[in-house]
C-alpha cells in the first residue's frame, strides 16, 4: 500500500498504521527480512512526524518484529544447537515451538491489523511497548 507524505490524505494516520501492520505480517508470512527492512525504513522516515495512531502502530510492529526475530530465529537455532540435528526430540520440540510461536505472532498481527483498520491502537501482548497518550483505543467492554 503506498504511503503518502501528504498528511491531508491520511490525517488520522490510519493508512500508515495499516501499512505498518501489513509489513509486520508480510515479514512473518511472505517476505521475511525484506518486509522487516521496509518496516524499519518506514519507521525511520515517518515515526517522528506521524499522528498518534500511526506512531503507535509503527513502534508496536517494529518492536514485535524484533522480538519475532529473536523468538523464531535465535531460539530455534539454540534448540537445534543444544539438542543436536540428528535427535528426534530436538525436532519434536523445534517444530512444536516454531509452529506455536509463529502462529501466535501471526494471530497478534491479525488483531493488530484489525485494530488499525478500525482506527484504533493495539499493544502487542508481552512484547509491545506501552501505548502513548492520545492513542484511540475504541469502545471498552
Amino acid at each position: 500500500m503506498p504511503v503518502s507524505d501528504d498528511s491531508d490524505t491520511d490525517p488520522t494516520g490510519m493508512m500508515l498504521a495499516v501499512t505498518a501492520e501489513s509489513l509486520y505480517l508480510a515479514n512473518l508470512l511472505l517476505a521475511p527480512g525484506l518486509a522487516f527492512l521496509a518496516l524499519a525504513l518506514l519507521y525511520a522516515r515517518r515515526h517522528a512526524s506521524a499522528p498518534p495512531l500511526a506512531a503507535a502502530h509503527l513502534s508496536q510492529t517494529l518492536s514485535a518484529s524484533l522480538w519475532a526475530g529473536l523468538l523464531l530465529v535465535v531460539v530455534n537455532l539454540l534448540i537445534l544447537t543444544l539438542g543436536g540435528y540428528h535427535t528426534t526430540h530436538t525436532w519434536i520440540v523445534l517444530i512444536l515451538y516454531f509452529t506455536l510461536a509463529h502462529s501466535t505472532l501471526v494471530v497478534c498481527g491479525a488483531i493488530g491489523l484489525a485494530r488499525a483498520l478500525a482506527g484504533q491502537c493495539w499493544r502487542y501482548p508481552l512484547v509491545g511497548r506501552p501505548l502513548p497518550d492520545g492513542c484511540p483505543r475504541g469502545m471498552q467492554p
Binding site: I92, V107, A110, I111, A114, M139, P141
Partner: protein, 464 residues
C-alpha cells in the same frame, strides 16, 4: 425472537448438543484404546468407536447447520419459515435415522448391517466417513431436499441478503456434493478421487460458506456494524475460499494414483487455503473493534472471535503444516493429520455451531437478548476449558505425529507401525488427559443452560 417459526431451531440445537456429548464419549473410549488395546473389546472394537466418533461429529454438525439456517433465514428474509411443520417432521426423521444407524454400528457387525440394509442393491458402504448404510444415505438426501425446499422457498419469497444467499449456496452445495457418496466405482483410484469431492469439498469448500454466513449474521446482530460492510467482507472471504479450496482438493491426490501435476496444483492452491481463514480472523476482530454497541451476550461474542482464531490455527496453520507435497510425502495419514483434523473441525465447525447456539438459544428460551451473567460466566468457562484442552490435544497429537514420522518413515532404520505406536504412547496418554478436560468443559457448557436460568438477564450496555 422476531418470528415464531424460528422456534423450530431449538430441537435441532438440543439434538446437536446431545450428539456432541456422544461424540466426545466415544472419542475418549477410542483415545483409551490407543494405549489400552483391548479396552471394551469385543463390545466396542476400535474401528466401531472411530466410526461412531466421526459419524456423530458429522451428524451433529449437520443438525447445528440446519438449526442455524432455521433460525437466521426467517430473520434475514423478514418472513416466517415456509413450513415449520415440515422442519419438525424432518427433524424427527433425521434424528431417528441417525440413532438407528449408530445403534446398527454398535449392535451388529458392520457386514451384517450391510446385509440387513440391502447394501448389495446399491453398494455405498465401507468408506471412511461415508460408512452409513445406503438406506440412511437415501434418508439424508430426502431430509436435505425437504430442508432445502423449506429454506429456499423462504429466501426466494422474502428479502434476499448476502448472508442468506451465501448460506443457501453452502447448503445446496452440501446436498449436491453428498450425491457423490452414491458413486462407488470398482477402480480404487477413481473411488478415492470422487470420495474427496464429498469429504474435502464439504469441509474446505461449501461448509466454509455456511461458516462465513453464520459468523456474518452473528456479527451483524451483536456489533451493530453496517450490514454493507460485513457483506463486503463475506463476499471476499467466500471468493477466496472457493478459489483456493476447489483446486486445493489436489492435496489429497498426491499418492493415490493420480497424474503428477496434482503435486503442483495441490501444493500451490492448498498453500493459499489459510488466506480465507486469516481474513476471517481480521474480519471478526475488525467488526468487534468497530462495534456500535456492547451486546449483552458476551459469551456469543467470545465464541465468534474464538471460531475465527481457532479456525485459522486449526484449518489454516495446521493444514499448511503438512499440505506441501514434499512434506506430505512423509506425513501422509500420520498423527499430524489427526492433529489438524481435531483442531480444524473444532475451530471452524464446532465453534461456529456453538456460536449460533450461544446467540440464539437465550431468545429461543424466552429471553430478550442474552442469558444471565452467572450463566454466561459458566459458558465462558466452558469455552476456555474446551478450547485450551483442544489446543493441548492438537499439540500432543502433533508431537506424536512428528515422532511417528521420524521413527517410521524418516530415519535410516524405519521401524514398523505398531512398534512406533508403543513409542508414542506417552503422547496418547497426554492426549487422553486433555480429552477428559474437554469433556469437563462440555459438561460445564451444558450446565450453563441450567445455572442462573432464573436470574435476571444480563444488562445491555449503552452505546458510546
Amino acid at each position: 425472537m422476531q418470528y415464531k417459526s424460528q422456534a423450530v431451531a431449538k430441537p435441532y440445537f438440543i439434538a446437536a448438543i446431545g450428539l456432541f456429548v456422544g461424540q466426545i464419549v466415544f472419542g475418549l473410549v477410542m483415545g483409551l484404546q490407543y494405549v489400552w488395546g483391548d479396552f471394551l473389546f469385543p463390545e466396542i472394537p476400535f474401528n466401531v468407536a472411530r466410526m461412531v466418533h466421526t459419524n456423530l461429529l458429522i451428524v451433529w454438525l449437520l443438525f447445528g447447520f440446519m438449526g442455524a439456517a432455521y433460525y437466521l433465514v426467517p430473520e434475514e428474509s423478514e418472513r416466517e419459515l415456509q413450513s415449520p411443520g415440515l422442519a419438525i417432521l424432518m427433524f424427527w426423521i433425521f434424528l431417528i435415522a441417525g440413532a438407528l444407524t449408530i445403534l446398527g454400528y454398535l449392535l451388529v457387525p458392520y457386514s451384517t448391517l450391510a446385509d440387513l440394509t440391502g447394501n448389495a442393491l446399491l453398494p455405498t458402504m465401507g468408506r471412511e466417513f461415508l460408512e452409513q448404510p445406503t438406506i440412511t444415505k437415501i434418508g439424508i438426501v430426502v431430509v436435505a431436499l425437504a430442508f432445502l425446499y423449506n429454506i429456499g422457498m423462504t429466501i426466494l419469497k422474502g428479502r434476499k441478503t448476502a448472508v442468506s444467499l451465501v448460506m443457501l449456496i453452502g447448503l445446496a452445495g452440501l446436498a449436491v456434493l453428498f450425491l457423490f457418496s452414491f458413486y462407488n466405482p470398482d477402480n480404487l483410484v477413481k473411488d478415492k478421487f470422487y470420495w474427496w469431492w464429498v469429504v474435502h469439498l464439504w469441509v474446505e469448500g461449501v461448509w466454509e460458506l455456511i461458516l462465513g454466513s453464520i459468523l456474518a449474521f452473528v456479527l451483524i446482530k451483536t456489533t451493530g456494524v453496517d450490514r454493507e460492510v460485513i457483506e463486503k467482507w463475506l463476499y471476499v472471504i467466500i471468493a477466496m475460499t472457493l478459489i483456493t479450496g476447489i483446486i486445493g482438493t489436489g492435496h489429497h491426490y498426491y499418492w493415490i494414483g493420480t497424474p503428477d501435476y496434482w503435486q503442483w496444483w495441490g501444493s500451490v492452491f492448498s498453500a493459499l487455503e489459510p488466506i480465507p481463514f486469516f481474513m476471517m480472523t481480521v474480519f471478526a476482530f475488525n467488526m468487534v473493534n468497530r462495534r456500535r454497541r456492547n451486546h449483552p451476550n458476551k459469551a456469543a461474542m467470545l465464541w465468534a472471535l474464538g471460531t475465527a482464531v481457532m479456525a485459522f490455527l486449526g484449518a489454516g496453520v495446521w493444514g499448511f503444516l503438512h499440505t506441501l507435497s514434499p512434506v506430505n510425502f512423509y506425513t501422509h495419514g500420520s498423527q499430524i493429520t489427526a492433529a489438524h483434523g481435531h483442531m480444524a473441525f473444532y475451530g471452524a465447525y464446532v465453534m461456529i455451531v456453538l456460536t449460533i447456539i450461544s446467540y440464539a438459544m437465550p431468545m429461543l428460551r424466552g429471553r430478550e437478548a442474552a442469558n444471565s451473567n452467572r450463566s454466561q460466566v459458566l459458558e465462558m468457562w466452558s469455552f476456555w476449558l474446551m478450547t485450551v484442552s483442544m489446543v493441548f490435544i492438537t499439540l500432543f497429537l502433533t508431537g506424536a505425529g512428528i515422532l511417528q514420522v521420524y521413527l517410521q518413515r524418516f530415519s535410516d532404520n524405519p521401524q514398523p507401525f505398531m512398534v512406533v505406536q508403543d513409542k508414542v504412547a506417552l503422547f496418547y496418554w497426554a492426549r487422553e488427559l486433555a480429552g477428559v478436560v474437554f469433556l469437563v468443559g462440555l459438561v460445564v457448557y451444558i450446565a450453563s443452560f441450567f445455572v442462573g436460568s432464573r436470574d435476571a438477564e444480563a444488562v445491555t450496555s449503552t452505546a458510546e
